[in-house]
């Protein structure tokens, strides 16, 4: 009985590094004056979204399927929040959907465990 080994492709590594940097730079925007102006609960929603996106990137870094799934949920949540609050960002959404499509190609090769 042999162990299954999973090797993270360089492209996924690049996606993760860019993603970690984006999360790092998005963190301060949770409590920026513009975000606060959106309403009392918007910073809370936005903050949780960033935290879950960070977790998704950690999952992708470890080449786990749940990373892709969580990443997809965060995109979905982001789109819904954007549409509800009239802050829908086309460029950001397109970027994340492209990443998601790329990740979908690697999905079957990923580890299904936690």
């Amino acid at each position: 009985m042999g162990y299954t080994t999973y090797t993270r492709p360089k492209f996924v590594t690049l996606i993760c590094i860019v993603g970690f940097l984006l999360v790092l730079f998005s963190m301060p925007s949770v409590f920026s004056p513009d975000t606060r102006a959106m309403g009392d609960y918007y910073p809370a929603l936005f903050g949780m979204l960033i935290a879950f996106r960070f977790i998704a990137y950690v999952g992708l870094w470890h080449f786990k399927r749940w990373g892709v799934e969580l990443f997809m949920y965060t995109i979905f949540a982001n789109v819904i929040i954007g549409l509800l609050t009239d802050t829908f960002n086309v460029v950001g959404t397109v970027y994340h959907v492209i990443i998601l499509v790329i990740l979908a190609f690697f999905y079957k090769k990923m580890d299904r465990n936690l």
Binding site: M27, P33, R36, I50, F52, I55
Partner: protein
């Protein structure tokens, strides 16, 4: 139900871990506490000041235009020498505005004089005397705690009557009801017919607390109201449904007619509107908010790294315990949740301490400065959200690494 049991167990594990390492926990909490304190303290101060300025601006009146000699905003190369030679607004121009315009609901002449007020043996030096023509109560928002305001007849005939502010009343009459008493101004006896309700400090210095209002017709018997020292203004309020722009357009034409300006000649008056001040104050508060945001962001970042570090240490210390838990059947996600909760609880405790410090600071500052600092619910939610977010972000990697430990290796490492 199962999740709640897991949640309770994770919390108790977390609290136990925090209890056994008090000093380490306290030190790692400090980063988050300071970060949350920095951000929320700045936001609380800015929000409180903004609210105060907004209420001061509201007291100036919505849909009100100030006809004055000087504009409230200047460009970089404004021709101040031209403004210097402009004539000052006069009481008679107020009447002309009322007569010639259609969209104006009320117009009032106001000015400020500094003069000594006497009551028996007591006096207030350089008291602020507010000079108004009739219709002041239609343009400005204020409340009276006793008596009444001038009647139109008193304003037109320049009766020797006045309405005093709370501060003046306290200084001269110390608890006595001043209505009906007489003050001495310009050597004349002036009867007090009303008192302004207490308003508190105003960020724009337009609180009635330290003012004594007298009719303009009375004041101009003793002092020239068309001087820069009086800072005369005509406050014009538009009718309901008339926009400030429409009112401004009509006033522009009317004032040019009143001043008999030829076509093509520059205006020799300024039409100032409250929205100018509110947009300026908004931009100032935005700068303060951004400064607090930048300072706080760095503090939070440092605090987050501190928490991540302490969680890695915690995982390392409890590797053996993790191994035993896994050997007994604990799932990966149970270990992950346990450490993640510990990190989130740690950050939320740090955040709560920070919020407590802000609340304490707000109470102390409010008492010391006679200015109300309020820690709002939105700032409390924001503080707790940031804490939870930092807890998740900084605790996830250590928690995940703990969950991935091999039970045999983990038990061996602790022996």
């Amino acid at each position: 139900m199962f999740f709640l049991t897991l949640f309770r167990e994770s919390i108790s594990f977390a609290l136990h871990a925090l209890r056994v390492n008090r000093l380490r926990t306290t030190l790692s909490l400090l980063g988050i506490t300071i970060g949350i304190f920095a951000i929320i303290a700045v936001f609380t101060a800015v929000d409180s000041m903004e609210r105060k300025v907004r209420s001061s601006l509201e007291s100036l009146g919505e849909n009100v235009i100030f006809v004055q000699k000087w504009p409230w905003t200047f460009g970089p190369d404004y021709p101040w020498w031209k403004y210097m030679n402009r004539p000052l607004p006069a009481v008679r121009e107020t009447e002309e505005i009322l007569r010639r315009t259609e969209n104006v609901d009320a117009a009032v002449f106001t000015g400020n004089i500094r003069k000594t007020l006497y009551y028996k043996t007591s006096f207030i030096e350089n008291a602020q005397i507010l000079v108004t023509s009739k219709g002041y109560e239609q343009v400005k928002t204020f409340e009276l705690s006793g008596g009444r305001f001038f009647t139109d007849q008193e304003s037109e005939t320049g009766s020797a009557v006045c309405v005093v502010g709370y501060g003046v009343s306290q200084a001269l009459f110390a608890g006595q009801d001043p209505v009906g008493l007489e003050l001495k101004l310009y050597g004349q006896k002036v009867q007090i017919i009303g008192t302004f309700a207490r308003e508190g400090e105003s960020m724009l210095g337009n609180s009635h607390d330290n003012m004594v209002a007298v009719p303009a017709e009375f004041a101009q018997r003793y002092v020239d109201l068309e001087t820069d020292q009086v800072n005369p203004s005509i406050l014009v309020k538009g009718r309901n449904g008339i926009s400030v722009e429409d009112l401004k357009d009509e006033l522009m034409g009317t004032m040019r007619g009143v001043r008999r300006l030829k076509p093509g000649a520059d205006d020799n008056f300024s039409l100032n509107e409250v929205s100018l001040l509110s947009s300026q104050s908004e931009s100032i508060f935005r700068v303060f908010g951004t400064a607090g945001w930048i300072i706080g962001a760095f503090s939070i970042l440092v605090g987050g790294f501190g928490i991540a570090n302490i969680m890695f240490v915690s995982v390392k210390e409890r590797t053996n315990q993790i191994g035993i838990q896994k050997a007994l059947g604990a799932k990966n996600w149970f270990i992950l949740t346990q450490f993640l909760f510990e990190s989130v609880v740690l950050c939320i405790i740090g955040g709560l301490i920070g919020l407590g410090l802000v609340y304490l600071g707000a109470v102390i500052a409010s008492r010391a400065m006679d200015f109300e600092f309020v820690l709002t619910s939105s700032n409390v939610i924001l503080g707790l959200t940031i804490s939870a977010m930092i807890g998740i972000i900084s605790g996830f990697i250590p928690a995940y690494s703990a969950s991935q430990l091999d039970p045999v290796e983990a038990i061996r490492s602790g022996m």
